[in-house]
C-alpha cells in the first residue's frame, strides 16, 4: 500500500468518527522478513505481510484506543464503533493532553526500495556467505529485511506519512569452547556483507577460544558499541523518560553535570545513519533532542502526556504500545571521539575488552544499578595489549556511575549503527567506550 492509500484509510476512519470525538489514526503496512540460521543451516525463514490500523478517541476527555488488522469498510466501522462505545464508558482522564496540532514532520526518508522487497534468496545469500566465512566453525544468527509505510491523521488537522526500511545481519561463530559475534545494520540491504560479518565473528570466536576464569572485581573496560547501546537503553528507559521524571524514579537532573564531560547524547532521527520515520505515534514531528551536552544533563524526552504533566512540550517521542511506560528515544546518538577502537585498548592499563552484554536487568532505577553478564568474547588487557581471553563474568554496576564525571577514559571514533540488541528497541548510533571502572561481581562459575 502506498502512503496515499494509507492516508486514505486514515481519512475513512476519521470520517466515521465525525465530530463526535477527538480522534487520531495511524495505519502501518509493509513486509517484514527474517531468515534465521543455526548449526550452520537455515532452519526458520518467515515473512509477515503486516498491516495495522490504530485508533485513539477522546470524548470530552474520556479516552479509549483500539487496534485492528483489517481495513475493509465493515471492519473499520466496527473499529470506530467499539472504540467510541468504550470511550463513553470511561471516566474522564485528567491527564489527557489533547491531539497533536498540525506541524510538518521531519523530512527524513531512511528508505531503500530494493530492501523493502528483498526476496528470501537475497537474505539466504548473505547467510550463506556468513556460514562460508566461518571456515567450518558452527554458526548461528539471522538476516532480516523490512519495509514499512506509516500514515497518521488526526481530527486536529495533523497529517503525516513516512516510510522506513531496515536490514540486519547478526550472527555468531562457535568453536565449541567460545562464541564470537558480529553484526551490521543499515537501511540498505546492500550494505550487509555476509562474508565480512561472518569473518569478524569467526575472528572473535577463535580469539576467545581457550578462555580462563579471572577473579571478579573492579576492572577498566572497553565496551564495544553493542554494550554501549545497552547502557544508553537503560538510561533512556529509566532516566531520560519524562514519565520516570514525573514519578520521581529518574536520576535525571537538568542542568547538572551528571556525566563525564566527553559525553554528549542526543535523540536524532535525522542522523544519516539513523533508521525510522520523522514523526512519533501521536503525529508529533521528531526533532533533534539533546539529552546530554558535555556531561551536563540538558533534556528529557516527552510524549504529549508526560509533556503536559511536566509543563513541557512533546519532543516527538511517543511510542506505540509503550502506554504507561512513557516516552522513549528510538534514535539515540552518542557523539564519537577521535580515538580508534583499537587505540582505546592501547590506553588500558589492566582491564577487560567486552564484546556483548547479555540479560541485563535493572535493580534500582534511581541509582541505575544493573546486573547482567558478558557474552561472545571477553579479553584481559594488560599494558595496552590483549593478553588472553577470559570466561564470561556477571556484573552488578550502576550505569550512571560508569559514565560519571571522571569515569570515562576514552570515546571511540567507531560510530556504529546498532539495532535490535537490547529489548529489541531502537536503532542507536554509538562508538566504543573506555571506562575507568566496571564492577564484576561473579565469575562464570558463580
Amino acid at each position: 500500500m502506498s502512503a496515499t492509500d494509507l492516508l486514505e484509510v486514515c481519512e475513512r476512519v476519521l470520517a466515521r468518527v465525525g465530530n463526535e470525538a477527538e480522534a487520531e489514526v495511524t495505519v502501518t503496512a509493509g513486509t517484514e522478513s527474517l531468515t534465521r540460521f543455526a548449526t550452520s543451516f537455515i532452519h526458520q525463514n518467515v515473512t509477515d505481510d503486516a498491516r495495522q490500523v490504530h485508533l485513539r478517541v477522546a470524548l470530552d476527555g474520556r479516552v479509549a484506543e483500539a487496534t485492528a488488522n483489517q481495513a475493509d469498510d465493515d471492519s473499520l466501522a466496527r473499529l470506530v464503533k467499539s472504540t467510541v462505545d468504550a470511550a463513553r464508558l470511561q471516566p474522564v482522564d485528567p491527564g489527557w493532553p489533547g491531539l497533536a496540532p498540525p506541524a510538518e514532520p521531519q523530512a527524513v526518508d531512511h528508505w531503500d526500495e530494493p530492501t523493502s522487497h528483498a526476496d528470501p534468496s537475497e537474505r539466504a545469500a548473505r547467510v550463506g556467505a556468513f556460514v562460508a566465512a566461518a571456515g567450518g566453525l558452527e554458526t548461528a544468527g539471522f538476516c532480516s529485511t523490512a519495509g514499512t509505510h506509516t500514515a497518521f491523521a488526526n481530527s486536529a488537522g495533523q497529517r503525516a506519512s513516512g516510510r522506513a526500511t531496515v536490514a540486519m545481519l547478526d550472527g555468531i561463530a562457535r568453536t565449541g569452547a567460545a562464541d564470537g559475534s558480529a553484526r551490521a545494520a543499515s537501511a540498505d540491504v546492500d550494505d550487509l556483507d555476509g562474508a565480512t560479518v561472518g569473518a569478524e565473528a569467526t575472528r572473535r570466536a577463535r580469539d576467545a577460544d581457550g578462555a580462563a576464569d579471572i577473579d571478579p572485581g573492579r576492572y577498566e573496560v572497553v565496551l564495544s558499541p553493542s554494550c554501549v547501546v545497552n547502557v544508553l537503553t537503560f538510561l533512556a528507559l529509566y532516566g531520560f523518560n519524562g514519565r520516570a521524571v514525573e514519578e520521581g524514579r529518574s536520576f535525571a537532573r537538568l542542568g547538572e553535570p551528571q556525566f563525564d564531560p566527553v559525553i554528549t547524547i542526543a535523540d536524532d532521527v535525522t542522523h544519516p545513519e539513523a533508521i525510522g520515520i520523522g514523526f512519533d505515534a501521536e503525529g508529533t514531528p521528531k526533532g533533534r533532542v539533546e539529552l546530554v551536552r558535555g556531561g551536563v544533563t540538558t533534556g528529557l524526552v516527552h510524549d504529549r502526556r508526560t509533556a503536559k504533566a511536566n509543563g513541557a512540550t512533546s519532543t516527538g517521542n511517543a511510542v506505540a504500545g509503550a502506554g504507561a511506560f512513557g516516552a522513549l528515544p528510538a534514535n539515540l546518538v552518542l557523539e564519537p571521539g577521535t580515538t580508534g577502537a583499537d587505540a582505546l585498548v592501547d590506553g588500558v592499563e589492566r582491564g577487560l575488552l567486552v564484546t556483548d552484554f547479555w540479560y541485563t536487568r535493572i535493580l534500582d532505577p534511581r541509582t541505575m544499578v544493573v546486573t547482567g553478564l558478558t557474552r561472545n568474547g571477553v579479553w584481559l588487557v594488560e599494558g595496552g595489549r590483549i593478553s588472553r581471553p577470559v570466561t564470561n563474568m556477571r556484573f552488578t554496576q550502576s550505569y550512571l556511575e560508569a559514565l560519571a564525571p571522571g569515569a570515562v577514559s576514552g570515546v571511540g571514533s567507531d560510530l556504529t549503527l546498532v539495532s535490535g540488541t537490547t529489548f529489541d528497541f531502537g536503532a542507536y548510533v554509538v562508538p566504543s567506550l573506555h571506562l575507568a571502572s566496571w564492577n564484576f561481581t561473579g565469575g562464570a562459575q558463580g
Binding site: L89, G248, G323, I362, P365, T371
Partner: protein, 480 residues
C-alpha cells in the same frame, strides 16, 4: 475458517512442500490501566489472519497474511514453500517429524464469567479503587491493570489435522512505588507480573486487589527505611512461591527447551547447559525436586487442548526425584533428538508468528512442608519473595535474582523486613541444595504472560505451578 487453512496447505503442497500446516487465528485483547486513582488507558486489539508453514528439505518456510480470502490463502501457501526452498540453499540434514495422530477435534477452556462481558465501568472502578488505596497507604505511584485475551484458532495439516480451539485468558496486576532520597522501593501484588490463567473474570475477583492494596502500599513505604539485605556467601534461603515461579521459569523451563539444547537458539536466547547424552541420568537437583510440564492443568496459563502442531496436551516429566528425564519439544526437534514423540510444546504468538518450542505449565510438584514449618526449622536465614530483577546467562546456568522484599529469620522466627534482597547461584548446585519443599496447600499455578523468545520476537503465556522452597548455602546480598 478451516477452508482458508485448507487452501493454504494445498497450495504449499502443490508448490513442493513435503509437509505443511496452517493456522487461522482470531484474537481479541483488552487491557485497562489505572494510575494514582485515575483510569489512564483502555486498549482493545483485534487481529485475524492466517499463517502457513511449509517444510522442504531441512528448512521451514513461513508466510502470514491478514487477508482472509481463498486466493490470499493459496498465495500464502505458495509463498511459504518458496521461502522454504530458499532455506534449502543453506541446508542441513533433512528435518523429520515425529508421528502424531491426525485428530479432528474442538477444545475450549472452562470459563465461569466471560471477562469481556464484565462492564468496563466495573473493571475501571476496581483499578481506580485499588490504586487510590495504595496511594493512601503510602505509595508515591500506584498502578493497576488487567489483561484479557480471547483466541480462536483453526489448525489444518497436510496429515489430516483439523482442530479448532477457543482459549480465554485473563488476569490482573498492581504495584506500589515509594521514592526515597536515594532509591525507590516497589511492592507488587499478586506478583511482579500479576497473576494470569486460562480462566474467566472469576480469577480477578479471587485476587481481591482492593483487599490487598493497603498492605502493598504500606510495605513499599516501609521498605525505604528497612535495613539493607545482608551480604553473605552462604545462608539458608527460603523463597516464596511467586519468586520460585520465576526461578523455575528461568533456570529449569528455558534450560529444558529442546530447541535451545539443539543449538537452534544459540545466537539469541542462547543454548542450555544440558547435554542430551545425559538425559535420564544427570542429577539436576536434590531428591525433593520433581518438575513436570503439564498443559492439562485446569486454569493454568500454559494450558490448552492441542499445541500448534496438533499434538494433544499431556503431562511430561522433566525432573524426577532430582534426575533430569524430559524436555520441552515439538515434532521436528523431538525427531532430531531421537525422541519417540513430541512433547506437545509448540505454540506461536498469533497468526503471524512461526510456532516454536514454548513452555507449557512447567512447575514443581508439591512436597511435605508448610512455609511456617520452613521458617520454624531455620535458625539463621532469609525469606524472600516477589521478583524484582532477573538475569541469567545464555546457558541458563549462572543466575542472579532480586526480590522486592525479604525478612531475616532468627531462631525459627520471621524477623526484620530487609530491602534490596538478591541471591545468586549456579543452577544444578542451587537445586541440589533444595532441602525443604512446600506442600499442596501452598501450590499455586502462577502465570507468566510475557515470556519473550524467538526472532522475530514472540511473547508466550506460560504457567508455573510453584511452592515455597528452602535452599541451603546460598550467596545473598550482591550489590552494585
Amino acid at each position: 475458517m478451516f477452508e482458508y487453512a485448507e487452501a493454504a496447505v494445498e497450495a504449499a503442497l502443490a508448490a513442493g512442500a513435503r509437509y505443511a500446516d496452517a493456522r487461522v487465528m482470531d484474537r481479541r485483547h483488552e487491557s485497562m490501566s489505572a494510575r494514582n486513582g485515575e483510569v489512564e488507558g483502555l486498549t482493545q486489539e483485534a487481529s485475524t489472519g492466517l499463517g502457513v508453514r511449509a517444510l522442504i528439505g531441512s528448512g521451514w518456510g513461513f508466510f502470514s497474511t491478514a487477508d482472509l480470502t481463498t486466493d490470499a490463502a493459496r498465495a500464502a501457501g505458495a509463498q511459504a514453500s518458496a521461502i522454504a526452498r530458499a532455506s534449502a540453499s543453506v541446508p542441513g540434514a533433512d528435518l523429520e517429524l515425529t508421528p502424531v495422530e491426525a485428530r479432528q477435534d474442538s477444545w475450549a477452556n472452562a470459563v465461569d464469567e466471560d471477562p469481556l462481558s464484565v462492564p468496563l465501568s466495573e473493571k475501571g472502578d476496581l483499578l481506580v479503587s485499588a490504586t487510590r488505596t495504595m496511594r493512601e497507604a503510602g505509595a508515591d505511584v500506584a498502578n493497576a491493570s488487567y489483561n484479557i485475551w480471547e483466541t480462536t484458532k483453526w489448525l489444518v495439516s497436510s496429515e489430516g489435522h483439523r482442530i479448532d480451539q477457543h482459549i480465554v485468558e485473563c488476569g490482573a496486576a498492581m504495584d506500589a512505588t515509594a521514592n526515597g532520597e536515594a532509591e525507590t522501593q516497589r511492592r507488587s501484588y499478586p506478583g511482579i507480573r500479576g497473576q494470569f490463567g486460562t480462566r474467566g473474570w472469576e480469577l480477578v475477583r479471587e485476587l481481591d486487589l482492593p483487599g490487598n492494596a493497603p498492605r502493598i502500599g504500606e510495605e513499599a513505604r516501609a521498605l525505604l527505611s528497612a535495613p539493607e539485605c545482608p551480604s553473605r556467601d552462604a545462608t539458608d534461603l527460603i523463597i516464596g512461591s511467586e519468586q520460585m515461579a520465576l526461578q523455575i521459569h528461568e533456570s529449569v523451563g528455558h534450560a529444558v527447551e529442546l530447541d535451545r539444547i539443539l543449538g537452534w537458539e544459540a545466537a539469541f536466547a542462547g543454548t542450555s547447559w544440558l547435554d542430551l547424552t545425559q538425559l535420564g541420568s544427570l542429577r539436576f537437583g536434590s531428591d525433593l525436586m520433581n518438575v513436570t510440564a503439564d498443559a492439562t492443568l485446569p486454569g493454568a496459563l500454559g494450558s490448552f487442548g492441542y499445541d500448534d502442531e496438533g499434538t494433544p496436551a499431556h503431562p511430561v516429566d522433566i525432573v524426577r526425584d532430582g534426575i533430569w528425564v524430559g524436555v520441552l519439544s515439538g515434532r521436528d526437534s523431538a525427531a532430531l533428538a531421537g525422541l519417540a514423540e513430541s512433547g506437545g510444546a509448540v505454540r506461536g504468538d498469533g497468526y503471524n508468528r512461526l510456532p516454536m518450542v514454548r513452555m507449557t505449565n512447567v512447575g514443581l510438584l508439591p512436597g511435605a512442608s508448610s512455609l511456617d514449618e520452613m521458617i520454624a526449622a531455620t535458625d539463621d536465614g532469609l525469606l524472600v519473595d516477589t521478583n524484582r530483577s532477573w538475569s541469567i546467562d545464555d546457558k541458563r546456568l549462572n543466575f542472579q535474582f532480586g526480590c522486592e522484599i525479604g525478612w531475616e529469620i532468627k531462631g525459627g522466627k520471621r524477623g526484620r523486613m530487609v530491602r534490596n534482597p538478591t541471591y545468586t547461584g549456579i543452577g544444578p548446585r542451587f537445586w541440589a541444595s533444595l532441602d525443604m519443599l512446600g506442600n499442596e496447600s501452598e501450590w499455586t499455578f502462577w502465570g507468566t504472560p510475557n515470556c519473550g523468545k524467538g526472532q522475530p520476537g514472540q511473547i508466550g503465556h506460560t504457567g508455573h505451578p510453584s511452592v515455597p522452597c528452602r535452599f541451603h548455602g546460598v550467596r545473598i546480598g550482591v550489590r552494585g
